[in-house]
Assembly symmetry: C2
Homo-oligomer: 353 residues x 2
């Protein structure tokens, strides 16, 4: 090892789901939306002026922030935007979790939380979900350096009641509490109203799932003005201009089509509920997911075996080789046609094995 | 102050140049390129498929990395890309400057270096430029935690010879040395060849200046495979997908038009050299800038006065209220027409005052 290597911040990075390059796959492994973005996004792209690309984008991202303010009835000073909700959450960890006390999050949750904690040298403590994969709210009542959890939780899909979330917030008035709502539009209830009641609460959402724009990298957070100010100060200390011009403009265009947004979410919810029934019949069990994925385990055949068998058939789902969940598959809800192909394969495989 | 506020990472953020919203301004304050991006960028945008936006972009940014590899005759494992060179440099600070010893950079330089050092709690020590605003290479021969400087330097525009840069590198084999080449395409010589000779050297460049794509946020770094691997590990611990689909595709399109790139750089260099002569005649003095801006001081009229007078005429230049440079203006090289309007105003103002 060379001397300079001793000064390197070494980390174990997050492993994203595979992004296979060939086209004839059924891709149910990274919770993308099976439907394209709103036609308004296409219209906006067609009108986009490339000459303006020579100029920096708006540092305060006004175009997008104003559109979010209008859509969600918030003040523009209560909104922070970033390069996907991962960027938003990374900035939150960097900004708010500096007490030296451990940050609390569930043991089974979005697997980026411990990665951010590690990269920023933030201590953390995982709170185990109960046997039904539910968050035990009392575990979060002890002294800590901050709280973060997704609602619905990932990869379980299980939704927590707003009243329970408020209980956690009430017991954590001295730290920042982050509610990661990447999947809330598929049947959950947002904690947005709590942002007005508690100045230490951040609600984080994304365009990657319900708005079909994972490829555009747009995430955002709602919080009190004082929280958002701190977040922006750190953002401006990292990169003045994070959102490029197409992200700002196309993000705004997507928000301008609420009917399409609701239609897509409705279709995914309908498909999810149908698939739940079909998978039950095939011997799978799972929690009552309110997200655009299911987290399933089979009564007889191991998750790893199914994962490998599906992959050979070019059906990609997500398998986590981690304690407590190594016999589960996370399956994104695709189109009805994609799900029918998945179900047909599973039915045949289970009969034959 | 609420208790949770005590845990906030407080910072003094970088202040970017103003981005005025009205259109009839002459904008010479943020070193943007006055010419639009290559027509190939427009063609690429017109062909872009918005349906693909529903899918995450390539985590390893292959499209863009491969195009950079081809353009610069590098191996793809020697290239890192980010959301503008600010993102690349921020990641470099976070990854490589962890020794606890002070990082060295010039006292007059890109004013984001001390901001990154502060946000990541990295100690630093500024090395004064000499009276002609030149880097004194011997100042960098002492023990340190890393070295970073722009070449040409900003906001002075002064270029350092490659042999001098190599002297600094030779004396700093135990730390990472970063050469920030945001402005190198306007007449400088890149240190790219030194990347193959020294495994601790990073060369950082951007699409924001010479490729007319500040609004797209694309930056990149060249370095040894081991350096790039460390950088990517930290990047993947921050945000798996930093570059959105348009950035990857349009960046590649811009690289596919070297003739246009050289033409634009040539025009800016020609304008710069002409403006140097005209400004000399008006009583301005300045170093021999090799960037797309000039850093000028007038023999009689204060920089602040000129800055304010120009602003009233909707000509925006950059003024830094900082020690040693508070009587200087940084003026971006615009089109010939824009520079003629600037020169006409300055001539009249100087005659009348």
């Amino acid at each position: 090892m060379r001397t300079w290597e001793k000064n390197v911040r070494t980390v174990v990075p997050y492993t994203p789901g595979e992004q296979p390059k060939f086209v004839d796959v059924i891709k149910l492994n990274t919770n993308e939306n099976p439907y394209p973005p709103s036609p308004k996004v296409k219209e906006c792209l067609e009108k986009m002026n490339t000459e303006a690309f020579r100029l920096y984008p708006e540092p305060a991202c006004d175009t997008l922030v104003d559109a979010l303010a209008e859509t969600y009835h918030m003040d523009r000073d209560e909104i922070f935007v970033g390069v996907g909700s991962d960027d938003v959450l990374a900035m939150c960890f960097l900004t708010f979790f500096n007490s030296g006390k451990p940050v609390f999050f569930p043991d089974i949750t979005y697997s980026f939380y411990d990665v951010w904690a590690d990269v920023f040298r933030i201590p953390y403590e995982c709170q185990p979900l109960d046997k039904d994969f539910r968050i035990v709210k009392e575990d979060y009542y002890r002294e800590n350096g901050g709280v973060v959890f997704p609602n619905p939780n990932a990869p379980t899909g299980i939704l927590m009641e707003l009243s329970e979330i408020e209980d956690i917030i009430r017991h954590n008035q001295d730290v920042v509490v982050i509610i990661d709502e990447a999947y809330v539009d598929f049947g959950g209830k947002s904690a947005l109203e709590l942002v007005h009641k508690y100045d230490n609460v951040l609600v984080v959402q994304t365009f990657s799932k319900s708005r079909s724009m994972a490829g555009m990298r747009i995430g955002y957070a709602f919080g009190s003005k004082v929280l958002i100010k701190y977040l922006n100060d750190v953002k401006y200390s990292f990169n003045s201009y994070t959102m490029n011009r197409p992200a700002l403009e196309l993000g705004k265009a997507a928000l301008a089509d609420p009917a399409y947004f609701e239609e897509c979410c409705g279709k995914i919810i309908a498909t999810r509920e149908r698939v739940k029934k079909e998978l039950s019949r095939l011997g799978f069990s799972f929690g009552d997911s309110m997200a655009n994925f299911l987290f399933v385990t089979h009564e007889r055949i191991s998750a790893r075996e199914l994962f490998e068998a599906l992959k050979i058939k070019k059906i990609f789902v997500r398998y986590f080789n981690k304690p407590r969940i190594d016999n589960y598959l996370r399956i994104t809800i695709g189109t009805d046609e994609e799900m029918d192909q998945l179900l047909a394969f599973l039915k045949k495989y289970i009969q034959e094995n």
